[in-house]
């Protein structure tokens, strides 16, 4: 029976090529315009390290002013960056199985010997601890992470992203080679493979990509690398790195810990509470104790920066869905005309023994086939729409931002298997929804009406 319905559906498509083409185009357009919005949202809201994101936790300590809001969108949320002295205290704890403490800077990158053939460029540089790479599943292509002694010694070593490796050295294994970060020579000890880590869980902000260069934290001793995102609390003068960043309430360090068991989590919470209470008794923290420990999964949901970008893309999706609904309404009238044009044949089939359900399902099957074709076409439409959007977006970015992030060369927008399947599912679902009423009406036409006149 299925094969008969399929054959009938295919014949009907061949018999009404114009309407079939219009139906397919309407599906492709509706879904093809909607999917890029879903893709952007997905790239903002997806979990970049499923399986690991429930083991890593970001640590938030509230040392912010009592009478000022840190986040406009989440007034009760502590800052997502903390003071170096607090970060050091957490690094000293042995409850967690890994600690990632770091911050981001933007610095000029150039060749070690000022080779004029390599154009200097600005790049984001992450100052971090070695556990960072393991905790966030950074894929190493060449070399290794610096060892503990090298990191603590303050040696100028670095790991490059594949994008920076390409820009500096033209790609390949360049472990051991040297380059400059902010006029200091650094030696390459490792090179990452392509790492589409979106959203950048460990430092969420709109459009953030993984950094181009990673160097050791070395106990916050890299005074030539000033944090890009830091907020000074108090009256410290920014000229003095030690005073401003290390012995003050200035917040700039992003702290993540690895806590693989519930016992670890409970113990770490106790530790954090005890630590902040102790610090409060010593005269720190204007606000009540407001420690937060969010797993990666939770952080994706509650991070204020994530909320902002997700809200933006949700708004895009709503607009796109309205467009899809308009397409579905157009489909509905097209399908009604299409089904009515084949009603005489359906009436004959009914007379010969087909039930209303058979006819209804055969109409749905026909639209399902067109939905599948529309889904294939919508992949192309979505690709064109997404590229166009990215092109408009990237071409309007400030040149220095493009240079720093390398976004122009590698926009890192994923269109993976899930999104691929979602496109087909949406195309078929949209077409079936549009087909329900026309199919219902068409299969309820009394067959006798058409048998006599034909």
């Amino acid at each position: 029976m299925f094969m008969l319905a399929l054959e009938t559906a295919l014949r009907s498509i061949r018999k009404t090529p114009g309407v079939s083409l219009l139906v397919t185009a309407a599906i492709a357009l509706g879904v093809g315009i909607t999917m890029p919005m879903v893709v952007l949202y997905y790239n903002t809201a997806q979990n970049p390290i499923p399986g690991q994101s429930d083991n890593v936790y970001t640590v938030l300590i509230d040392n912010w002013f009592a009478d000022v809001t840190f986040w406009q969108v989440a007034p009760d949320m502590p800052p997502d960056i903390m003071a170096a002295r607090d970060a050091r205290a957490i690094m000293a704890s042995d409850i967690q199985t890994g600690t990632s403490v770091g911050y981001r800077v933007i610095q000029p990158i150039r060749s070690a010997d000022n080779d004029t053939r390599i154009k200097p460029f600005f790049s984001e540089v992450r100052i971090t601890t070695p556990d960072f790479f393991r905790m966030f599943r950074a894929p190493m292509l060449y070399g290794n992470i610096w060892d503990k002694e090298t990191g603590e010694s303050g040696a100028n070593v670095a790991i490059l992203s594949n994008v920076t490796n390409q820009r500096l050295f033209g790609g390949g294994d360049n472990v051991g080679k040297e380059f400059k970060v902010a006029d200091e020579i650094y030696q390459v000890v490792g090179i990452l493979d392509a790492w589409d880590f979106t959203p950048r869980l460990y430092s969420i902000s709109i459009n953030a990509r993984v950094e181009g260069v990673f160097v050791p934290l070395s106990d916050f001793k890299r005074s030539h690398l000033m944090p890009e995102r830091a907020t000074t609390i108090g009256t410290d003068t920014p000229e003095n790195f030690d005073q401003t960043y290390l012995n003050s309430e200035t917040i700039f360090a992003e702290v993540w810990v690895e806590l693989p068991t519930a016992e670890n989590v409970a113990a770490f919470r106790d530790y954090l509470d005890n630590y902040t209470l102790e610090q409060k008794s010593l005269g720190r923290y204007e606000r009540p104790v407001n420690n937060r420990l969010y797993s990666g999964t939770e952080w994706l949901e509650v991070a204020p920066a994530s909320q902002e970008s997700k809200s933006l893309y949700r708004a895009f999706i709503i607009v796109a869905v309205f467009f899809l609904v308009v397409c579905i309404f157009n489909l509905l009238s097209l399908l009604l005309a299409k089904f009515m044009s084949v009603t005489p044949e359906a009436s004959v089939t009914r007379a010969l023994g087909a039930t209303r359900t058979d006819i209804f399902l055969r109409y749905l099957l026909e639209v399902g086939v067109l939905g599948l074709l529309g889904g294939i076409l919508s992949l192309y439409v979505a690709r064109i729409a997404l590229r166009s959007m990215l092109w408009v977006y990237i071409s309007n970015l400030p040149p220095e931002f493009k240079e720093i992030t390398g976004i122009g060369e590698n926009p890192y927008i994923q269109f993976n298997t899930s999104l691929f399947l979602a496109t087909f599912a949406l195309a078929i679902a949209a077409s079936l929804i549009a087909a329900l009423i026309p199919a219902w009406r068409a299969c309820h036409v009394p067959p006798a009406e058409y048998l006599k006149v034909n």
């Binding site: 029976m1 008969l4 014949r11 061949r14 018999k15 005489p344 044949e345 004959v348 089939t349 009914r350 007379a351 010969l352 023994g353 087909a354 039930t355 209303r356 359900t357 058979d358 009394p446 067959p447 006798a448 048998l451 006599k452 006149v453 034909n454």
Partner: protein, 220 residues
């Protein structure tokens, strides 16, 4: 075998109730061949549609092969149409983009019959109407008479209890009409009951029994 008791079919047009069939009772035995005559608008086609379970009725009882089929579900009505009733229409009603054999095969596929049995039955039906050599032709490549013979093959392929024919010779010339009537007589002689609506006295005279319908009633 076939019995209608006080069947009624009415239509509301504005405030006026029109009766297409009224107190319509008819009984037909196994192997009968009944010609239904009457002027246009008398209710012949309405009767045939109700007999073929294509239209609902508004009152009365209808028994087919001993079973009350007056108030069956759509699924059960479809099943009866498929297994017990064969249709022949004035306009042939063949699927234009299916070959003759595929048209004949259609009700058998709806029945869920195996491919081997379908092939055997389709071959036999086409042979019976003399169209074996045209099995792969599309209806548009066949003459009117040949198309009606394909429709007859489609009606008999499923071995129905009864064939309902609505003006089967209405679109054919005299010579072709005579051929079609010969086939129907042969089918009837083989044991299948036939109810045939017709305007043609020549066609009607081959029937074993003739009834006339006027104003929705039998005036035999």
């Amino acid at each position: 075998m076939f019995r209608m008791e006080s069947v009624e079919r009415r239509f509301q047009v504005g405030e006026i109730m029109t009766y297409a069939l009224r107190d319509f009772s008819l009984s037909i035995g196994e192997g009968d061949f009944v010609a239904v005559e009457g002027p246009s608008g008398a209710g012949k086609t309405t009767f045939l549609n109700i007999a073929g379970l294509l239209d609902p009725m508004d009152g009365g009882k209808y028994y087919l092969a001993g079973e009350d089929v007056s108030e069956l579900s759509d699924r059960d009505r479809s099943l009866i149409r498929n297994q017990r009733i064969g249709f022949i229409f004035q306009g042939f009603n063949l699927i234009p983009d299916l070959s003759a054999e595929k048209n004949v095969e259609l009700p058998l596929r709806l029945r869920g019959m195996s491919a081997a049995e379908r092939k055997q039955r389709v071959g036999a039906a086409l042979e019976q109407v003399g169209l074996t050599s045209r099995a792969r032709h599309l209806p548009s490549k066949l003459s009117g008479g040949q198309q009606q013979r394909v429709a007859i093959a489609r009606a008999i392929a499923g071995s129905p209890n009864i064939i309902l024919a609505d003006e089967p010779t209405g679109n054919l010339d005299t010579h072709m009409a005579a051929q079609i009537m010969e086939m129907l007589v042969a089918i009837n002689e083989a044991g299948t009951s036939i109810i045939m609506v017709t305007h043609s006295p020549e066609s009607a005279q081959v029937a074993k029994r003739r009834i006339e319908v006027r104003d929705g009633r039998i005036v035999e």
